[in-house]
Amino acid sequence: VTLVPKFTEEYRQEELLRGERSLFYFERNILGFDLLDDMDFELCKALEGRAPYQAWIRALVSKYRAGRKSTVASQGYPMWRGSYIVNFSTKLIEGSSDNAKYNHFAPLVDLYMNSPRAEYLQWLYGHRIPPNFVGWNSERLTFIKENPLASDTLSFWGPNSKFEGWHGDLVVIDDAQGTETEGSDVGVSDAWRSYKRAVPLLTDQRRGQVVVVGAPPISGTRSFVHEVKDSFEGVIKRAA
């Protein structure tokens, strides 16, 4: 006997609740990131601030290459927060706007609009997705919001963007330095500039979050993620 889920309103509410309660469930079962494994489960718990991890306002996520760090932290996490918190807004800042657009942002738009899972997502989040995807384009993605002044649910900036005119709740700085730096440390300066300019853009300085995602560069003398790690470890050490 094949079990077919009944797409009833009752089932939808249960599924919404399961997604809300677990970032891992949201990413793996709802968005369909089915390659996520045990380590990604731990990362999801850390991003949720669930025990044994703690609630955070600044986080650093660094995993080995192809370790799905961007999938979990830069794609899944902002969508999870945006799906369940009305007026929630995330800005994705990357070392190149092409990387942000084509590798991280556009696949999400495609997931909701055109993918085989699109119909299911539109059914499940019909109360959040605007009719006819009004406000969705190649630059931004917007769920239904109550505050007309709230920014888009997800949008992105490259290193040359002006870093103004946006205020939101979460900033994801992903691969800001770049992997192939060819020995130059310019990328580190740009990455720090992105970080320092992003913080004042948070709507609520006490709760707004910044998450840095990336891995050390192959060459050069400086590593942005190591410098962020040193900085965060200092705070963690003082707090302990």
Binding site: Y53, L60, Y64, P216, I218, S219, S223, F232, I236, R238
Partner: protein
């Protein structure tokens, strides 16, 4: 510090989630995606392995080159006249294969005479004199003119037998090049035809036009071939230089050869070369000798082994037995009656 587990620490509203590919026990966290042969394969590119998989700081991952391997594979001179080198070569057993069907090399001690090697000269000019250069800022490496002499053995092993490094201009470099050319009689001279170095061959062509010493150079007898040798400019070939960075060339072109023990440094004279190799990522260090070495793989060609000359000599001796005593004309062997015994082949001529 508040460590939650091996890979995460939290406190003060900050979280660090830091997961290298290997756990504290040396085993990969994701054993399915990183089985041992994949790990071994990734380790062959040390800087990518160190930074992208072990999440080490730049410079923490043993430079691009394996220092231990460089030191272990250094060659030494067998005789005081410095004509024979002893080094670690490879022996390939066709029955000893890895899981990919490739032969697993075994290290053996070998010797090679300089007279069996083919020499190459690699040149890197100093782009600007100190008086011409702007104040050196961040990211500008110090630079010197450099000449590197490599000897390529019949088994494709490469020996750095001589080098020169000095902060001189194009004229001083040209004089030194000619001196080294007469000393080593290299088969090819490579240089990067960029910037002011574009004129290097033209420069030599002009000198050769009016200076007889340059027009008819004579090699010294100690190394390589002796006697008159071709003009220096005729031996010059442009190194295949594209817009690749120094780091890329060191990583992609040289690291495989050096980390496998194919390029050998002199055990008695290696300090500067070793220093440059190990600091290739540090932009405060000059790496002119590494630049020179990076030109090598594009032009190196191993000479035929001495055994090949023996075979030719034996064959000549055999054939000459059939020569006419007066004219030296070789008729060839007489055809047996009825054609070849085994195949029955008959030549159409008698």
């Amino acid at each position: 510090m508040s460590f939650v587990n091996d890979f995460a620490q939290c406190g003060g509203g900050h979280t660090v989630f830091w997961v290298p590919v290997l756990g504290p026990d040396g085993e990969p966290y994701d054993k399915e995606s990183f089985p041992p042969h994949v790990i071994e394969s990734l380790k062959t590119i040390p800087d990518v392995w160190g930074s992208q998989y072990l999440l080490q700081r730049p410079g923490e991952h043993d430079s691009i080159f394996d220092e231990q391997e460089i030191v272990e594979s250094m060659f030494e001179w067998v005789d005081p006249m410095r004509t024979v080198m002893r080094y670690k070569a490879f022996e390939f057993d066709p029955d000893n294969l890895d899981e990919l069907g490739q032969s697993i090399p075994e290290r053996v001690t070998a010797t090679v005479s300089l007279s069996d090697c083919r020499f190459y000269m690699h040149v890197d000019a100093k782009h600007k004199l100190e008086s011409q250069a702007r104040q050196r800022g961040k990211g500008q490496r110090p630079s010197k003119a450099a000449i590197l002499i490599t000897a390529v053995a019949p088994d494709h092993h490469v020996f750095i037998v001589d080098w020169w490094l000095e902060a001189v201009g194009l004229e001083g470099l040209a004089r030194k090049m000619f001196s080294y050319y007469c000393l080593w009689a290299p088969y090819r001279i490579s240089w990067e035809s960029v910037g002011a170095q574009f004129w290097l061959r033209e420069y030599f062509t002009k000198i050769e036009d009016y200076d007889e010493r340059y027009r008819y150079p004579t090699a010294r007898t100690r190394y390589g071939m002796a006697g008159e040798i071709p003009k220096l400019s005729s031996r010059m070939v442009e190194a295949e230089k594209t817009n690749q960075s120094k780091e890329f060339i060191a990583r992609v072109v040289l690291s495989g050869l050096i980390n496998r023990g194919v390029i050998h440094l002199d055990s008695k004279r290696h300090d500067e070369m070793l220093h440059q190799l190990l600091n290739v990522l540090d932009d405060r260090e000059g790496i002119d000798l590494v630049d020179c070495l990076g030109q090598g793989p594009g032009v190196w060609k191993a000479p035929p082994p001495p055994s090949m000359f023996d075979q030719v000599a034996r064959r000549l001796a055999f054939v000459s037995a059939f020569a006419q005593p007066r004219t030296g004309f070789i008729r060839g062997m007489r055809q047996p009656a009825g054609g070849d015994k085994r195949t029955g082949f008959k030549r159409p001529w008698s």
